[in-house]
Structure formats: C-alpha cells, structure tokens
C-alpha cells in the first residue's frame, strides 16, 4: 500500500518541498533564538567555563 501511495507522488518536486521544510524549521529556530534573553545565553555559554556546580536554570529565570 505504501508503495502505491508513494508511486502516486510527483517526486520531481521533492527538492522544493525539502527546501520549504528546511526553510520553515530554520525560520522557527532563528526566531526562537532571537528571542532568547541575554542573561540566559550568558549563563548557558558560561557552563563549560564554570567547573563548580551552578544552576543555570536559576540564572535563566532572572
């Protein structure tokens, strides 16, 4: 059945569909990232520098 369904598809458009899927995901991520607060990203990016156990969640909530 899957074969029948797939064989009905016009695969010549697959590149364009794939591009649209990627574009939507990319936009969603960029949008979300742009809305991240600076204190959150500062806290996250300092995790490898800070060897003692800290709570980035707490910092992110400020």
């Amino acid at each position: 059945m899957l074969k029948d369904v797939i064989s009905k598809l016009d695969y010549s458009n697959f590149e364009e569909i794939a591009l649209v899927i990627f574009g939507l995901c990319f936009l969603a991520i960029v949008l979300g990232v742009s809305r991240l607060k600076k204190n959150a990203t500062d806290r996250f990016s300092s995790i490898p520098i800070e060897d003692s156990v800290v709570d980035p969640w707490q910092g992110a909530k400020k």
């Binding site: 990319f26 995790i47 490898p48």
Partner: protein, 792 residues
Amino acid sequence: MSDVSVASSSGLNHQQATSMAHSATMESFSYNDGIVRMFVTATIVWGLVATLAGLLVALLLVLPALFGGLDPSVAGLLSFGRLRPVHTNAAIFAFAGNAIFAAIYYSTQRLCKCRMWSDALGLLHFWGWQAIIVAAAITLPLGITQSKEYAELEWPIDLAIAVVWLGFFGGNFFMTLWNRRERHMYVALWFYIATIVTVTVLHVFNNLVVPVGLGKSYSVYAGVQDALMQWWYGHNAVAFFLTTPFLGLMYYFLPKAAERPVFSYKLSIIHFWSLVFLYIWAGPHHLHYTALPEWASTFGMLFSVMLLMPSWGGMINGLLTLRGAWSKVTSDPVLKFFVVGITFYGMATFEGPLLSVKSVNALSHYTDWTIAHVHAGALGWNGFMTFGMIYWLLPRLYQTKLWSSSMAEWHFWLGTIGILLYIVPIYAAGVTQGLMWRAMDDLGRMQYPNFVETVQSIVPFWWARVFAGGLYITGIIMLAINATMTWLNRPSKYEVPVFTAPRLQRGYKDDPIPKSKLEGAPVLDTAAALDRVAKMDWHRRWERLPLQFTVLTTLAVIIASLFEIIPTFLIRSNIPTIASVKPYTPLELAGRDIYVSEGCYNCHSQMIRPMIAETQRYGEYSKAGEFIYDRPFQWGSRRIGPDLAREGGRQSSFWHWEHFNNPEQRSPGSVMPSYRHLLEERLNFGEIQKRIEAVHFLGAPYEKELTEAESMAHAQADAVAAEIIAQGGTVSFEGKLIKDSTAIALIAYLQRLGKDLYRVDTPVPPLEQPPAEQAASLNPQLQQAVDTKTER
C-alpha cells in the same frame, strides 16, 4: 573542588528549591578521568598507525613494485587496494574515533556535573572499540571487505560496532545525561547526541546484508539504490563522525583553553539545527552525472550549497570566541592548534559546497582534488582539533606540567607546513588529471588518449605528498614523546577531587508557558497561540529534556533521509530496467567477489558519465538499469586507473592474464602493482553455489544455476582458459592449471563488464552437456589448446 549549595542544583522550580534547600540528599561524586587517559593514549597510538598506513599507501603509488620482492601471496596482502581502507578506517574510526570518545568522556562529565554513569560500560566501550579496530586491521588486508567506502568491514564486525557504539557508549552517555546535575544541556551535548543517534541510523541501514559466511555477505541493496545508501552513509559519516562531535569538542575545549565563553550561544543553536537539518540531505552530491536520478543529484547539490551558511557560522563562532585573547594565541600551542583547525574547518566547508556544484564536480570528481579536500579536513580540522585538545588535557589528566611546550610548538609548525605541502601539490594533481582527461585537440579527439600518460604527469606531485606526510607524522611522533614524558612525570598517586551536590529532582515542573500579550486582545485565538509558540519557551524546555531532544534530532535525521531514499527505492521509473541485462554467471559472480575483495574500487571506477570526454575514452555512458545485479555497487570514487564500466571485450583474456602478472609490461608507466597471487591461488568452486543462492534470494532470476552453479563455473573457466591458451597463454602456471586460478574468474567478470547493454539473445539449439567432472577434459577448445601448446 566545590561544595555545592543544595538549592542551586535541586530539581524543583525556584520557590520549591529554596524551601527544600536543606532537605535534598547530598551526594559525593568524582569524575572518571582514567577512561579519558585511556582514550587519549589510544588516540595517539592509532594516530601514528593511521598516518603511517597513509604514508605506506602514498609510497605504493610512486613505488608500485615496493613489495615486488616478497612472495606473491604476501605481496597480495599489501596491495594499495587492500591497504587504503586500512588507512582510511584507521584515520576515521581509530584516530578520530578515540579522539571524540576522549573529548566526550571528559567534557560530558563536566557539563553534566556528574561521573559517567557506568565505569564498567566505559571499559567495555574502550576495549570493545580497540578490538574492533584490531579486527579491521586484520580482515581488511586479508580481503574481507564489503568494498563500500568507510563501510568496508564485514557483518560480524558491523554487529560488534552496533553493540559497542550504541549499547556501551550510547547507553553510558544517555544514562549520564539522565543522571546529570546540570539542568541545561550545553550545546556541546547536543552535538554529541546528534552524533550518537545519527551514526547508529547510518551504520545500521547501510550495512543491511545477507551473509554467506563469516567473511562474506551481499548487500540487500543493488546498483543505484546501493550507491544512494552508501553515499547517504558516506557523506554523513563525514558529517556526524568527523564534524558534529568535533564541533562539540570545539564548543567545550575552545572556551576552556581561551578562558572565555563561546562568542555567541545563539549562533551555536542555529549552527546545530541547521547542520542537522542540512547535512543529511547532501549525500547525493557524491554521485553527480552518474546513473543516479537527476532529481536526487540536484537535491544533494542544493542542500550542500546551503551547508556553507551554518558551517561558516560555526567557524566564525569559534574564531570570535578568541576575541580579546589573540595575544594568548601567539604563546599557547593549544590555541594555535585550535585556530588553524577551525580555519581548516572553514576552508573545507567552503570547498565542500563548491565541489558539490555540478559543473565543478564534473572536473573534480574521480580526481585527486577530492583527496586534497578530504585531507584538508582530516589533517587540518580533525587532526589539529585533536592535538589541541590533547595538549590541553595532558597536564590536567597527568596532573603535572606538559613536558615540553617548545616541542608542542614544533609539532604545530611541522604539522601546518606538512598539511600545506600535502594539499597544494595534490590540488594541482587533481586539476591536472581533470583537465587532461577532458582535453581535446583541434579535431575533437582526445589529446591524451593513453590513460597512463595522465597518471605519469602527476607522479611528481605524489612524491611531494610523501615528503609532506613524513613531516606531519614527525609531528605526531613528537606528540607521542611529549605525552610519554609527561606521563612519566606524573605524581605517584593522582588527586581525585570529590564534589558534593544533590541530584536533580524528578518532580521538577517547568514554570507555566508565558501568556501571550495578545490574550484578551481583540484578535483570533490563532494569533495568540502563534505568539505563544514564537516565544520559543518550548525550545528551552527541550534543552532540558534529553529524551525529547534525542527523539527530535532522530526524527529530523530520519525524515530528511526518507525524503531522498523512499522515492529511489519505490518508484520504478527511477531505475529503468534493461531487458538485455542479465545476472552474472556463477564464475562471473565469483570473479566479481574477487574484484570486491581486492578493493579494485580504490583505483577503478565503473561509471561512465554522460560527457564527451568520457564517452570517447570509455564508451557509451552508464545506465541505471545496468547495475541492478551489482551487490555491492562498484562505481568507485577515484580513477588512479581507467574506468572499467565497459571493459568487457576491450582487451583479450590473455592480455588481462599477463596484465595481472606484470602490469608494467602491458601498460608501461602503469602504477598498478602485480597481482601475481591471483594467478597462483586456486578458486574455491565449492563456495559458488551458496553465493548464487544468496544472490537469488535477493532477487537475481537464476534457474539451473540454483543446482548446477559449480559445474557451470567449471565449464566457463575451461572456456576462458582455452581462450587464453589460444591467444598465446599456457595451460599451467607455476605447475598449476590456469583454469582453476582465481584470475580466470576475475577475467570472466571483467570480460562481462558493460556488454549486456548490447547483448542480442538469439535462440541456441540445445546441446547435450557432458557430466561436470568430465567437462574440462572434454571441452574441445581446451583439449585442442592442450594438444598444441607447451608450457612456457
């Protein structure tokens, strides 16, 4: 060492955490650095082995008779075709593999603020992986191979890889994530997650086979489908074994070495998701102008070009992390290695999209240009990031000063000069090859019709590579000395810092999703919902949830993969069948297995592209339908020797026999080594029957072959031997009848290549077949030849 406040690490939300600050159970833990020391040592050892193997295969190209003085059966184990996979597998899975394990075991513990979940799994992982590498080093020279680039290892080793990679390594890693004491998963961990899940998916699906013994199997895919699967795997092996884990390494160790946070955490998030989404689609760019459907090829090119953006985003993020610290770069060899490594990442990821553009690829494909590109990435990016990490780790792991900083400086400069002296001549060699292959004279004829002439023109560049490789290896020897001396200066007992902190609480609940400012406003509910989604609080939640994050990454990889794989597999028009194309005869199949075993694909392609320069040199361009019985496909990726797609009938069988014995004699200037052992080895006719059955199980329409494969193979071997004798050959070689040699089967296969396209089936009156055991003696051609020839 720090005693951590309870509230800072509890799993409850802020208010609850504060109220329960003194009631959570405190735990003591330390990091397992012993396993990191083991992986670092293995990295250095295998780095030496991999590069020495590389130097050896580079030497074999300029001195093809290097092992000519050895017994043919020994020299056969040391041919370029058998040793090149040893080099590539050692470089990728032994050197780079152990490096990423060292990086992951060290950084994951620190980023998760907890010890690796299981010391025992860590040890199983370490020794299991080393055993796999040793198994590869033994089986590949023995010719036990699937002949699929970077997936050469046969199915028993593949099974072991799956168990060690996902079971021991993956299990340990994910359980560590699960038990972490740091709620936010730092971006390096995302890259590690993507690495583990994607390599598992790639490895499993590319290696689906039907075994016919411990050392032989047939791929469930054939021809075009196999090619698509292989380069879906091959390209993503580069992406998810040599790129994403090294980016995780970069995002952890570069800030540590520079003592400042990554330049932009936002950019790292975009970098990660863009890479995961884009990389997985790009594989088909390895198959431009081949028999792969054009839409798939375009698909690969499109996404490959787009890959430039996230790749350079990552490179810029890495280099700008050093903002304000450039003065340290001049004095710190660790940062020097990182800067040059990241720069090579940028260079290689610029060149990759460039090479994926069809018009560029038309020139570069099959040439040494690809080899230069690969080595810019492997030696520059993977090698230098690894060396930088090791020099940073050595004093910390062995709790003493690095033995010699000046030796590390020397390593850096020798390595850098070595890379440049390697890639520049090999780029020149690649462009030279590409231009000579396509050069036409004023009358539209090939300017260099003799392929050997194009090979000879680049031999000086190959010598330069040997010298450059020697410089790079000298640097690794310095690293080995430095590491050994540092280890010798270690304290009698390592200090093991003990940390105290509570676990994350399972009862943690996220704060409610922030309300939209549009709620209550006179707008559609949809607008308010969209506004809530756009706040991206969901992504922040994912970053705290390893299971969900892993599932989403896996879904991204699988969905993208299915987009290119499903149509190619299910739509018949993608692979038009050709009525005249028939399965291989039993002897030809045995010959093909020898071709696979010898690793001929390392030098010869079997894919004529639809270009004038190619069709003039090799004949009609290859059609997808010609490969439907090829398991595995053998299109190859480089041409040190000419394409063989239409080799059938091009030379006499006797020519091939003599050519195997002494290529230089038949093709003066050829760099092909002698395959004399094929002339002496006896073909195991008894094996052929079960191989025919396996191929039949996979769809080859055999009939009487299912019961008479062995006798049919004998009959065809007699006929080929008779042909050779009639053309000037001898009945026996070194005292053994030539009709039973492995070379006869290989010649039968070569003489079949590319001929089916022109096959015209005419009805043949049935002949009475003699009993199998009498076939050889009754074969009139052979009998006549025996009567009239004397042994040389």
